[in-house]
């Protein structure tokens, strides 16, 4: 079984620029999560999808962050415009119908 795929793995941008991350979950996994992990902290949930509907986006900074999951499969997370404090690892995870989730390798974003 292929794991959760994410791209790019690394991205460096200047503040006020835009950036997008892509995630391909494990086939058949209805639930998809985006987490933000700042250095020295645990992952923080940004948004949770069930198929292509949003279950929880209470911690998503909606003035600059957006996410979509078209057709209930792949997902993209966008930041526009980026701030210095957005520097973090962005983790995508998916799950079938159990509490545990499978995580991708993450995208390390550096905002300069």
């Amino acid at each position: 079984e292929a794991g959760v795929a994410q791209s790019p793995r690394y991205k460096i941008i200047e503040k006020r620029q835009s950036v997008a991350f892509w995630c391909n979950p494990i086939s058949g996994h209805a639930t998809l999560y985006w987490y933000q992990q700042i250095l020295g902290q645990g992952p923080k949930l940004l948004i949770q999808f069930q198929n292509n509907g949003v279950v929880d986006d209470s911690q998503l900074p909606k003035d600059r962050f957006s996410a979509e999951r078209l057709k209930g499969v792949d997902s993209t997370l966008k930041i526009q415009p980026a701030k210095l404090e957005d520097s973090a690892v962005y983790l995508c995870a998916s799950s079938l119908s159990q509490p545990s989730a499978n995580f991708g390798p993450g995208t390390r974003l550096t905002v300069t």
Binding site: V4, T31, Y33, Y35, G40, Q41, G42, P43, K44, L45, Q48, V55, D56, L91, A93, S95, P99, S100, A101, N102, F103, G104, P105, G106
Partner: protein
Amino acid sequence: DQQVKQNSPSLSVQEGRISILNCDYTNSMFDYFLWYKKYPAEGPTFLISISSIKDKNEDGRFTVFLNKSAKHLSLHIVPSQPGDSAVYFCAASDWGKGGKLIFGQGTELSVKP
């Protein structure tokens, strides 16, 4: 509001000895608890879980204990091996209400030969 806390940022243990990683939570609605292991430049990997109806779950060298009255769980690794060196995250979920995982800050375990 830190609902899941791991108060020890790091732990160093000798190979062959027991490693005990601790986690505290505040939300009594959590009904599932998990431990994840993370190596550098990789995503977290699921290790072991326990539901709130149990107080112990064992998988090989890994055992998780849950004390609901104290809102505390711990992960025991016996015997510890150098390959266990990683960051360990405790996570909790209100699985019955949507299932999002809330993570602690992590504990970096170093197992020395």
